[in-house]
Symmetry: C2
Subunit: 299 residues, 2 copies
């Protein structure tokens, strides 16, 4: 164990952003809002509700501002938005987003495909977003998720030193949290534990979320390895929706219903709201089918 | 980490036994043999090929002796058989089985449903099987898997003290290995780590395999927790087939193809042999669909 953190775990629901950007269909706005309401009702404390990217690139996210404004009614929930650049950050802050997250790829190939910038240019973008927040929204924390931290379907292996070098560079910008994303579903538990332990050594408490995909069934095992390395924030997606339009072969996120053993009946109700908005889309998750173990929780 | 074991991991393939006893169809003998040949070709070093139970109870296993005799041609593979009692052990040894495994339930309710005996009566049966092996097959080790060690769909929670008491009782019989089985798919990683660490404290190196199911998607995370507690033998099943006819609601085993990162092309070929023998049966596994991560294995 790298440090002795508080036992409190935060589940950051990314379905409305990572999930909806990865399916071909565009969920109607009214369905999105009902789904987000159901997620809030299930007790989730942080929800990434939208991505502020140009509508011609991701038409699924054209209603991002409206979605953020609606979601703000849930007082106990921190409403996050993904922003790829300064322009996105301006729009997200204007809509009222309470936390921003920027993706910075450790793989130059993925970085160019995903945001058309080198990793270094993205670090500059992070600096610009931090300046903007300082000026106009000082209470809004900025998180960076290092994408393709465990491998890239475009370039193959991603050297761990590269990931750590990028993390140190990002830490120097003053960003509030730096997480690691297995964007492509290539991570294994030994690698996850090793890299998060190294990250804690390099940047300490700036270490942020583990964002794991379930492409090879290892999503939960990777979360466990990250937990044992000291990570306490986990991204997951209701029904496992998710992927990356620019990471060929990557498939769904860790399934929220499989990751947590809380609020399960309400989480399953939230699946109904998702199903209503995306008819015909395959939903993942073992626990929703199996139900809770008999006698759980125990005495 | 409870002990510093050798890093060598043994994957014990249970599909031909646990998998085939759990599906309604009976796989034709010729298909079974081809499937077992493909598993051996994939490099598996231990295969549980059959269960020696009365054919009127499990018609899928009526050809157990023939299957064992055929499988013995694979010199580098240890051929195991499940036996519920002395009579089954006699038949298995006569067929040439090289290792026997007996299920002893920690839950009296499951024990009665599964083998119509109390756990204590099953310990007596283990003693009888050990005497038989000593007399007639001294080179054949006997393993016990403690079923429902992490919970029971019939009785609910299973006290950990009960599991440990049973393990100590079994250790005193002279049995060679004692593993823990999550027969019902109710285990979580914290529980798995805790119980295996306690088991190592009580019976040391007699601690055997982790037999995990994937009912709630936690199969691999539970294997990881067991590994970290010191376990080095893992039961898994090609395509995740498996369950227990007397554990309602339990579903498939940990998927061999998701557990290991070796011999993957040959393991996928073994799925074809399985598919040919069980047409229409749903097969599980994320890795067979996703393929190996790009650039794996690394430099």
């Amino acid at each position: 164990m790298t440090r002795s953190p508080s036992p409190q775990v935060l589940i950051s629901e990314v379905g409305p952003r990572d999930g909806l950007q990865s399916v071909k269909a565009t969920m109607p706005t009214a369905d999105k809002l009902r789904w987000i309401d159901a997620l809030a009702a299930a007790g989730l404390r942080e929800i990434e509700v939208a991505s502020f990217v140009p509508a011609q690139l991701l038409p699924q996210m054209a209603d991002a501002a409206q979605v953020v404004r609606h979601a703000l009614r849930h007082r106990g929930v921190r409403i996050m938005a993904l922003v790829p650049n300064l322009r996105g950050a301006q729009a997200a802050l204007q809509a009222g987003a309470q936390k921003l997250t920027l993706p910075v790829s450790a793989s130059p190939a993925h970085s160019m495909a995903n945001v058309r910038k080198t990793p270094e240019a993205m670090v500059d973008e992070v600096r610009a977003v931090l300046r903007l927040c300082k000026e106009s929204a000082p209470g809004v924390p900025v998180e960076v998720g290092i994408s393709t931290a465990f491998g890239c379907t475009l370039q193959g292996l991603v050297p761990e030193d590269e990931v750590l070098r990028l993390a140190v560079l990002l830490a120097e910008t003053g960003v509030h949290e730096i997480g690691l994303s297995d964007t492509t579903g290539m991570a294994n538990p030994a690698q996850v534990g090793r890299l998060f332990r190294a990250l804690f050594r390099e940047i300490g408490d700036l270490t942020g979320a583990a964002h794991m995909h379930n492409t090879r069934g290892l999503g939960l095992a990777n979360c466990l390895a990250a937990y044992e390395a000291g990570v306490r924030t986990f991204d997951s997606s209701l029904a496992g929706l998710g992927g990356c339009p620019y990471a060929p072969g990557a498939s769904g996120n860790v399934v929220t219903e499989d990751l947590v053993f809380i609020h399960l009946p309400k989480l399953i109700a939230a699946r109904e709201a998702l199903k209503a908005g995306l008819p015909g889309e395959p939903l993942y998750g073992m626990t929703p089918e199996a139900g809770l173990p008999k006698g759980w929780p125990g005495p």
